[in-house]
Structures are given as C-alpha cells and as structure tokens.
C-alpha cells in the first residue's frame, strides 16, 4: 500500500463510510468482466466521482484479473481495520469525527474506524468499546454512582 492508499484511508472515518467503500469495491469488481457500454444506475454514476475511483485511476493494472485481485486484497485489508465503538449522547459532526480519527491515529499509529452510536440516555461523556473491552465514561454512570452514594 502506498501514499495513495494512505490518502484513501484518511477519507474513511466511520463504519458507515467503510461499508460504503466496500460496496463500491464489490460493484467495481463485478463490473470488470462486463460490457462497459452498459449504462450504470444513478447510484453508480454518483460513485464514479468518489475518491475510490480517483484512487483506482492512479493505479495501473496489466489486465482485469490483476485489477480484480487488487480489489479483493483491498477489500480484505479494509475489513481488517480495527474498530472503536463510541456511544455518545449527541449527534457528532463530521469535523469532530475527523478530529477523533486523526487523534486516534496519532495515539496508536494505526488507522482506526469509528463506529459511532448515539445514545441520549448516557447524558454525556462516552462509552468506548475497543478490541472486546468496554470502558464506561458516561455521565449517566457518574450520576448513577453519585445517586447510589447519596441514597
């Protein structure tokens, strides 16, 4: 994987985006041996402008088989990316998510995909789940603990 690949990974922040990319890869792979003259649907046309296609355009393949093999490998690599599950009480903006992704990369030296789940009942803070471990830093928990000590 080269610099282009790193650029591609930067674009993928959340699990939803990863799934979207994997679907696009699968679709491109399925179109390799088909007639290019076949009209693509609106969704496919929209994807033509995606960063995935830009990334693939910069690559040179000797034949369709090589392209297919590359796409399969790319798909497998993306599926193996580690995932951090974040349960938060608010609808996070894209900038905040990008910030978190960048911060995580800096801290761990690896690309981590964010699986963001909005749960208003946690009130504030965050509940994290990473590599099978769960860390509850929610305000709900704090309140609960406080109430237990009071009551």
């Amino acid at each position: 994987m080269n610099e282009n690949f790193e650029n591609l990974l930067e674009k993928i922040v959340t699990k939803e985006e990863l799934i979207e990319i994997l679907e696009q890869i699968e679709e491109i792979r399925s179109q390799i041996f088909k007639d290019n003259s076949i009209k693509r649907n609106k969704k496919n046309q929209a994807r033509n402008n995606s960063f995935l296609l830009k990334y693939l355009k910069n690559l040179e393949f000797k034949n369709p088989l090589e392209k297919e093999s590359f796409l399969l490998k790319l798909s497998e690599n993306l599926k193996q990316l580690p995932e951090l599950k974040l349960e938060i009480a608010f609808e996070a903006k894209q900038d905040f998510l990008k910030y978190l992704a960048q911060w995580l990369k800096e801290q761990t030296n690896q690309k981590i995909i964010l699986n963001v789940i909005v749960k208003p009942e946690i009130v504030g803070g965050v509940i994290l789940e990473y590599q099978g471990k769960r860390f509850d830093f929610s305000l709900a928990k704090k309140i609960d603990e406080t109430l237990k000590t009071i009551l």
Binding site: I88, A92, V123, G124, I143, T146
Partner: protein
Amino acid sequence: MIQEISIWFLLGLLILNIFALLLFSSSKNKKINENLKNEGALILKISENFKINLENLIEEEIKKNIAEIKKEIENIQKKSSDFQNELLNQAKKEIEEKIKQTKNDLKIEKEQIQKAVQNLKNEIEQLQKESFLAKKQFLIETKAKMEKLDSVLAKEFSSIKEISLKIQEHLLNQINTQINIIMTGVEQEVFRLRQETQEKIKQKLEKADQEIQNYRDRKIQEINQKIYQLLGKIAKKILGKSINLALHEELVKEILTKSKEEIFKDYE
C-alpha cells in the same frame, strides 16, 4: 145410458120440428101476404078462434107424438134391457170362465209351488245334513291343522327367536362398531378443534404479547425520554450548566486524553 140419450135426442128433434113448423108457417104466411100484397090480392087475418083451434090441434098432435115416443122409448128401453141382460150374462159367463180358468191355473201354480217348496225343504234338509257333516269334518280337519300349525309355529317361533337373538347380537355389534367409528371421528374432530382452538389462542396470545411488547417498548421509550430529560436536569445541576454540543465534544476529548493509556495500552 144409450137409451136415455136416444130418448132425449128424439124429444129434441120433436121440439125442433114444432118450432120449425111454427116459423115456417109464420114466414110462409108473411111471404104469402107480401106476395099477395104485391099481386094486389086481398089478405085475410087468422081469427082468434082459428088460432086456438090450431093450437089445440097442435097440442093434441104433440100429445099423440109424445105417447108414441114414450111407447117407442119403452120399446127401446125394453130392447136395451134385454141386450144389457144378454151382455151381462155373456160377460158373467166369460168372467166365470175366466175365474174358473184362473182358479185352475192357480191350483196348478199352487201345486207347483208346493212341489217346489217341498223340493226346497228337501234340499235344505239335505244341505243341513251335508253342512253338519262338512262342519264336523271341517272342525276335525281344522283341529288337526291347528295342532300341526301349533307344532310348526312352535318350531318357527323357536327358530325366529334364535334368528332374532342373532340379529340382535349382530345389530349390537354393528352399533358398537359404528359408535366406535363415530367416537373415533368425534375424538379426531375434537382433537382437531382443540388443536385449532389452541392454535388460534396461541396466535391471539402471540398477537397480544406483541401488542404488550410494543406497548411496553413505547412506554419504556417514553420513560427513557423522561429519564434523559431528568438526567439532563441532574447533569445541569451537578455541572452547574446545561450540556451543549461543544461541551459534549469537549467531554469526549477530555475523556479520551485522560484514558488513552488505559484504552490503548496493549496496542501502542
């Protein structure tokens, strides 16, 4: 009767003759007078004396005639009586003859009837005898037949009783078999109905459970919503301010920074 008619007829004729004679004489006189007048002749009137004499003469003549007529009537009556007697005698004879003949015929008829009655009596006697014998014979035969019939009937009755028992037994078996079949069918039907009912109840219960679950989820969601609102208020009181988006983000960043070692210590 004929005689009377004849007499009255003759009397009538006589009166008519006299009347006609008077008329004729009167009209003749008138005619003669007229003729004479016409001829210019002299007409003489009849005197009262002559008229009385003439009337007397006519009266005598009439009396004579009446006497003659009476005589004639008597003769006729006499003749009529004789003829009547003769006719009566003849009729009497004929009647007597007829009576005699009839008596004779009746006698013959009576004899024949008596003979026939006798024959009938004989025949009746004969018939009575035969009837008595036949009745006696019939009774004997009937008695024998009755005895025979009794014997046959006893046998038949025994046989019928036996057959009846067999039929009864067969019918009972058939009824039992049918009852068993029906009962099996009924049991199957009851089982099927029970299954159907259970299935329906199960479906209704599932539906009710689903509705309860939906209701519970809805209510839990409502309660959760209230809890979030309450928790928000509590958080606000604890933190001294409400949590906005920036504060949320800040909290997450702070938590990640503080706990990065704890979270990522195995993967650094």
